[in-house]
Symmetry: C2
Subunit: 246 residues, 2 copies
């Protein structure tokens, strides 16, 4: 019932997916509820090896720990790696964490991207600068195909963070990108806001090309501020519509 065994393929991944969803949805209190191999074997109808490998995958993400005789328990949320792409998928899928995540990410981006833009103005390679302009062109040229346009939007911000030359920021880029792409429906909903903000990307790219950190920072800050306002406004309208739940 809880799982459609997904006929033949990748039982292990399926177990990882189902358990991951449950954990981020808060269905299992950290430290309290214990999962036993035998229970999982029974529930998923899988072999012990498959179950163990699934648990190891989750353990690799710091989601769970296993101990002899005590079974496997969920680790406290502050140990979770929130920036893992699969984790983001699970959080997006879960209604209770969805909104908070988008807000948190928006806040994080407002902190990070202006500074990344300033660093990029100092460090970006000519190739990276060209890619920024290409992303802008693709964004601006595909406003009739929102999915494609949002794809290039995400790519723009990804390149921007990469151009900062800081590996930790690049690491964040993957998460930002993932979230933007996954939520492109959210942004296409704010259609007029999205299109209005496209030129901002060009201005940022120009400031980086001209090696002007202050200007790049300010323009990135402007874009993200407008972006946050759009998201907040859209979420308010969505909340009004979203009354029904099963």
């Amino acid at each position: 019932m809880t799982n459609a065994p997904k006929p033949g393929h990748n039982i292990t991944q399926h177990i990882v997916d189902v358990l991951g969803r449950r954990i981020v949805a808060g269905e299992m209190a950290p430290g309290k509820t214990f999962l036993f191999e035998q229970d999982l074997i029974d529930e998923f109808g899988a072999s012990r090896n498959a179950v163990r490998e699934a648990v190891k995958t989750l353990a690799g993400k710091n989601l769970v720990v296993s101990a002899r005789k005590k079974g496997t328990s969920v680790r406290p949320p502050e140990d979770w790696n929130l920036l893992d792409p699969q984790m983001i998928d699970w959080m997006i899928a879960d209604k209770s964490t969805n909104k908070g995540l988008i807000k948190a990410l928006s806040e994080l981006r407002q902190i990070i991207e202006p500074e990344a833009a300033a660093l990029a103005a100092q460090r970006a390679t000519s190739t990276q600068i060209l890619r920024l302009f290409e992303c802008y062109e693709q964004m601006a040229g595909n406003t009739r195909n929102m999915e494609k346009s949002v794809h290039w939007d995400a790519e723009f911000h990804s390149v921007l963070l990469e151009a900062s030359g800081n590996p930790l920021l690049r690491s964040l880029a993957k998460a930002v990108e993932k979230l933007l792409r996954s939520n492109f429906a959210l942004f296409t909903g704010a259609n007029q806001g999205y299109i209005r903000n496209i030129p901002d990307h060009l201005w940022i790219a120009e400031a980086i090309r001209d090696r002007d950190p202050e200007l790049a920072r300010q323009r990135a800050r402007d874009l993200l501020t407008k972006n946050e306002r759009d998201i907040e406004e859209l979420q308010r309208t969505l909340d009004e519509v979203a009354l029904p739940e099963t």
Copy 2:
């Protein structure tokens, strides 16, 4: 030779550890070198299950992917989860990534912590504020026991990020904390700088207590700027000393 089988315990973890170290050390080119189960079985003298579970753990960290017929390959570094505590251990242990990581983290902290302080000034609970002051007291009171003092230093910054109320920032806190603790030797080396900067922590806590975001931001920025200068200076002196290798 490459591995001391670590007598009884956790062959799987041992395999994870050895492979993780190799990967972050860049010994295996992403996408090119392939690891085959049989090779790993031979090298570690472990069973297929142990090897498979170790690989799954690494896959959970997005370090590797497995494909039929092609074996397991290393993913490109931009896919790695740099904030994973174990990853940080591996990177600290590796000389080639060590310095770059500390520099990148220092840069990231300069971006994030001032804003986190500003947010904390708006959102911190009274309990969190008390903990900030407690951390300062412990820092200032244990200058004769550097390890302890640095422990509370790390705790201070951890609480600060947590008090920002943003789960993504809290996620970063774990990595920052890990790095500070692991590198406490580095900071105790910069003894005079470390002690000189202790009062800054009190001033930050006071600004947060007084709910003054601008002041908290500015004071955090001051601390981190001084901190970076100390680290840079120390690394220069360390470089001069660090000629010998085995």
